[in-house]
């Protein structure tokens, strides 16, 4: 049954957010020589990509997409990535940190911290340097995490990709300072002012395709350290006492499958997912193993070049 018209249209609030994001993207396209959009395949990336299609319509977005593949993403994410890029007719660059692969870095033996540092952060820096990108869009939101809440929409990075949170450029009105020297770059966050709920309401209103992992299904999961980890392939070795169970689960965020906890949920439609959001009493990042590794870990990672 079709939802009533009003749930399928953008509220004034969503329209305002949409227009703000489009403005940011156009500024980047106009002011930078070689921008790129980080595409992480998740719901925020899907919204960001949808907004980019809108910003430059009827032209295609004047920049490629970049996926830093840690080789540990859910298989369904990679399938979705290929389909989505083909459907939209966009250019996608996939970068894998081959040094890390050769060194045998993986989330189980190396630990989440080293895995993320090498495969994500270093991989990202390699890709940005290799192609000489001077601006990179990321889908991070300020409501995700408290150091994100402090970050500018145009976030300056040194030639070594470092973030200096104590010395950010003042960002008044909608006047973004895009001036950089050679080698420096700007990370741009067009979804800064969106909340998780805004993202879901917008996906619902616009009918944006998302990875099926967000919808509840019977999936093989292992309970480990209080998180439900989906065993997506044979690389995940079972520890003594662990067993794989088929449970009705879905994901609130997506990343490397060994580092992403599932939640038990019966929500199989967008409406049900959004409805579930209202009763959620935990944050979406709780399912992420990496944030809890150490105090102020996000800020530390960002200083080192993480998105």
């Amino acid at each position: 049954m079709a939802a009533p018209a009003q749930t399928r249209s953008r509220s004034p609030h969503l329209k305002r957010l949409e227009a703000e994001s489009i403005f940011i993207m156009r500024e980047v396209a106009a002011e930078f020589a070689n921008p790129v959009m980080l595409y992480s395949i998740g719901k925020d990336s899907s919204v960001m990509l949808h907004l980019a299609m809108k910003a430059f319509y009827p032209a295609k977005p004047p920049f490629p997409l970049l996926h830093v593949d840690t080789t540990w993403k859910f298989r369904e994410m990679i399938t979705f990535r290929e389909e989505n890029v083909k459907r939209l007719g966009l250019k996608l660059i996939v970068h894998i940190n081959e040094d890390g692969v050769r060194a045998g870095i993986n989330p189980f033996d190396s630990g989440s911290s080293v895995h993320t540092q090498v495969m994500k952060t270093e991989g990202l820096k390699q890709a940005l340097d290799k192609y000489g990108f001077d601006a990179a869009f990321g889908g991070a939101r300020r409501d995700e995490e408290k150091s994100r809440a402090k970050e500018r929409i145009f976030s300056f990075r040194t030639a070594a990709h470092g973030w200096d949170p104590k010395n950010q450029r003042p960002e008044l009105w909608n006047l973004f300072n895009a001036r950089i020297k050679k080698g420096e770059s700007i990370r741009v966050f067009p979804l800064s002012n969106w909340t998780e709920l805004d993202i879901w309401e917008y996906i619902l209103a616009e009918g944006i395709p998302i990875v099926p992992l967000y919808f509840a299904a019977k999936r093989p999961v292992v309970e480990r350290d209080g998180a439900l980890i989906m065993r997506d392939d044979e690389r995940m070795k079972l520890l003594p006492g662990e067993k794989v169970e088929e449970r009705l689960v879905r994901f609130r965020t997506l990343g490397c499958y060994p580092l992403t906890g599932a939640i038990e949920s019966p929500a199989t439609t967008l409406e049900e997912i959004v409805a579930e959001m209202f009763t959620a009493r935990t944050s979406e990042r709780q399912g992420r193993v990496i944030d809890h590794d150490e105090n102020a870990s996000m800020e530390k990672k960002k200083r080192e070049g993480y998105f």
């Binding site: 489009i22 402090k150 950010q168 008044l172 009105w173």
Partner: protein, 628 residues
């Protein structure tokens, strides 16, 4: 939540407005605690975040057994270590009535620029004040910066009012009065003072039982209902062009976010800086063409005509254009450690335009305590001054008081690329208000200098058949080849239009020449080299023409060809008909030709070609300084 409840919820979202506000005030007045309280009590904080917060509070907290909400907002390591807010944090919450974006800004003077960042996009400011300390310099500084950045609504939150009942009321009223005395000079539309304890939650969301003498609204009740008049759609249409969209040869769209007003397909628009006009043909979006779009909408416009438009241009209605100038006066908040250097070239970014600019004069700086104007040679970090700016090219703007989008600009250091200042344009300097930019009258010499020539009348006189028109035509072609602006007035284009009511009587000949001379004078005023080619047999008429213009602007060119030669040439057979009596009053036959006594240029045509004659004339023009 069930699906039907969800639909009700989503339908409700359509009616919710947004309020952007900031919290400011001096250090330790409780800004972060207040926002933490708002977020906590509106149930934005998730359980896992609360658990972390409780853990952190025990470790770093400064509030004893209570949750230290500041730790929820002070997201940077340095902030938690030093126990202060350094940079602005943006948080989001919503109630049944409204959505809110709150900017938690630092209290230290050192970080005023981050406070200004938060204020630039806010509609309302909550200025906190520690009841035990009262109105401090930072309270006044923040109130002033809020006013400067165009915030119209202020809440004075008298916090930490943890005193006995009677005393609390007195203290509250004293600070309220003191603040209002200062703020009355700042022109706020509304000031609401609320007694509060952010830590305990008194009057934040729930009406306080402690301050039972207070009859006003709680903070949240006020935030939910305060009327933030938005007239952005009612103002004139403005769209700074961000990006020219050219996916193929058939489509040329101008992408931008409408800063103010409305635009409809079919509306006339003007490019503010060039004055070129056209008509909006389509308002393109991925969701389909729109009939109308308004302030805040991100759209792509196509126009009916091929008009040269690029990033930084502003589209506006032809009857309500923004100002265009290369000099303006503005308030400037300096935000860099390195002081402002008047005369140094910086970049300013306004709308989508970036242009080199320098401060030509620092009129004064402002004392934030007294709002007095002080003489100054420079501005230090966090100081506010009033300056004249000069840019290398004219650009379009509206005064900041009318439009934040149209009059707010940032100053960028050309060497460090840092954002070093924030400015608010008060007015353009185009009139005699500034000695450096005298209003340039568009006059004869201005027009002529644009053409690179001296305007003159070349008055060709001579008998019929003397070769006047032939030579004048060659001269015009030669001048044209030299890229000069010329025009010929002769019998062919004047007799058939302007003077078609005139015959060939003496009286008519006189009137004919008078009109031609007047027309020639207008061309001279337009800066042109005008070539007049008429027999003009009478000295008095030629003198009349000469006297219409300034000395040196009338060059009499006597095409001296004996009448016998003219009669032999007789290209139109006129002499033959005149001699046969078919034409009356023919010059040289039955009407006199008065030979010029002192022509500026005397061309004897008998032994030379018309081409040679023309060369002689052009050479004389050069020696007379008419052309370079």
């Amino acid at each position: 939540m069930r699906p039907d409840e969800l639909r009700t919820y989503l339908a409700k979202q359509h009616g919710k407005s947004l309020l952007r506000f900031l919290t400011c005030g001096s250090v330790d007045d409780g800004k972060s605690t207040l926002i933490g309280r708002l977020l906590h009590d509106t149930k934005v904080i998730f359980e896992d975040q609360l658990k972390t917060l409780e853990k952190d509070s025990r470790k770093h907290g400064t509030t004893g057994e209570n949750i230290d909400f500041a730790l929820l907002l002070d997201g940077l390591e340095a902030e938690r270590q030093q126990g202060i807010t350094i940079d602005v944090a943006y948080r989001f919450f919503a109630t049944e009535k409204r959505k809110f974006i709150v900017a938690d800004t630092p209290g230290h003077e050192q970080y005023t620029r981050n406070m200004a960042t938060g204020a630039s996009n806010s509609d309302l400011a909550i200025i906190l004040l520690d009841a035990r300390k009262g109105v401090l310099t930072q309270t006044r500084r923040h109130a002033y910066i809020c006013a400067l950045l165009g915030i119209r609504h202020v809440v004075l939150a008298v916090n930490k009012l943890d005193l006995g009942d009677a005393e609390a009321k007195d203290v509250f009223e004293a600070w309220d009065e003191q603040f209002r005395a200062f703020a009355s000079k700042l022109g706020f539309a509304s000031i609401v003072s609320i007694p509060m304890s952010a830590l305990r939650g008194d009057n934040v969301i729930a009406q306080s039982q402690v301050f039972d003498w207070y009859r006003g609204p709680t903070l949240l009740a006020h935030l939910e209902t305060v009327d933030i008049e938005s007239d952005r759609r009612a103002r004139s249409f403005r769209m700074p062009v961000q990006w020219v969209n050219r996916p193929n040869l058939d489509f040329r769209g101008f992408a931008g976010t409408i800063a103010s007003g409305l635009v409809r397909a079919g509306d006339p628009v003007v490019v503010a800086s060039s004055g070129r006009t056209s008509v909006v043909s389509r308002i393109v979006t991925m969701d389909g063409d729109l009939a109308e779009a308004g302030a805040g909408d991100a759209v792509t416009l196509t126009l009916k005509d091929e008009v040269d438009i690029s990033r930084g241009d502003v589209l506006a209605p032809p009857n309500a254009r923004p100002e265009v100038a290369d000099q303006f006066a503005a308030h400037l908040l300096w935000m860099a450690e390195e002081e402002l250097l008047p005369g140094r070239q910086y970049l300013i970014k306004i709308g989508t335009k970036t242009v080199p600019a320098s401060v030509t004069e620092l009129k004064h700086k402002v004392d934030v305590n007294s709002l007095e104007h002080l003489a100054a040679k420079t501005l230090q970090l966090n100081e506010v001054g009033f300056c004249n700016f000069s840019t290398t090219a004219p650009f379009a703007f509206d005064p900041y008081g009318e439009s934040r989008e149209g009059g707010g600009f940032i100053v960028i250091d050309r060497f460090t690329n840092g954002t070093v200042g924030a400015g608010m344009i008060e007015f353009g300097l185009r009139r005699a208000t500034n000695v450096h930019l005298q209003a340039i009258d568009v006059n004869k010499s201005a027009r002529a200098s644009m053409k690179g020539q001296k305007p003159v009348i070349l008055w060709f006189t001579g008998l019929s058949g003397s070769g006047k028109s032939t030579i004048a035509n060659i001269v015009e072609r030669k001048l044209h080849d030299l890229r000069h602006h010329t025009y010929i007035l002769d019998g062919d284009n004047v007799r058939h239009g302007l003077n078609r009511d005139l015959g060939f009587t003496d009286a008519n000949r006189v009137e004919n020449i008078r009109r031609v001379a007047e027309a020639a004078k207008l061309f001279v005023d337009a800066g042109m080299i005008v070539l007049v080619s008429f027999i003009s047999p009478f000295r008095s008429e030629r003198r009349t023409a000469r006297e219409l213009v300034e000395a040196g602007e009338f060059l009499e060119v006597f095409i001296d060809t004996p009448i016998e030669v003219c009669m032999t040439r007789d290209p139109k057979g006129l002499y033959k008909r005149a001699k046969a009596g078919e034409i009356k009053n023919f010059t040289g036959i039955d009407s006199p030709y008065e030979v010029p006594e002192k022509p500026e240029i005397h061309v004897r045509t008998v032994d030379i070609t018309p081409e040679d004659a023309a060369d002689q004339i052009v050479a004389r023009l050069r020696s007379a300084g008419v052309i370079p």
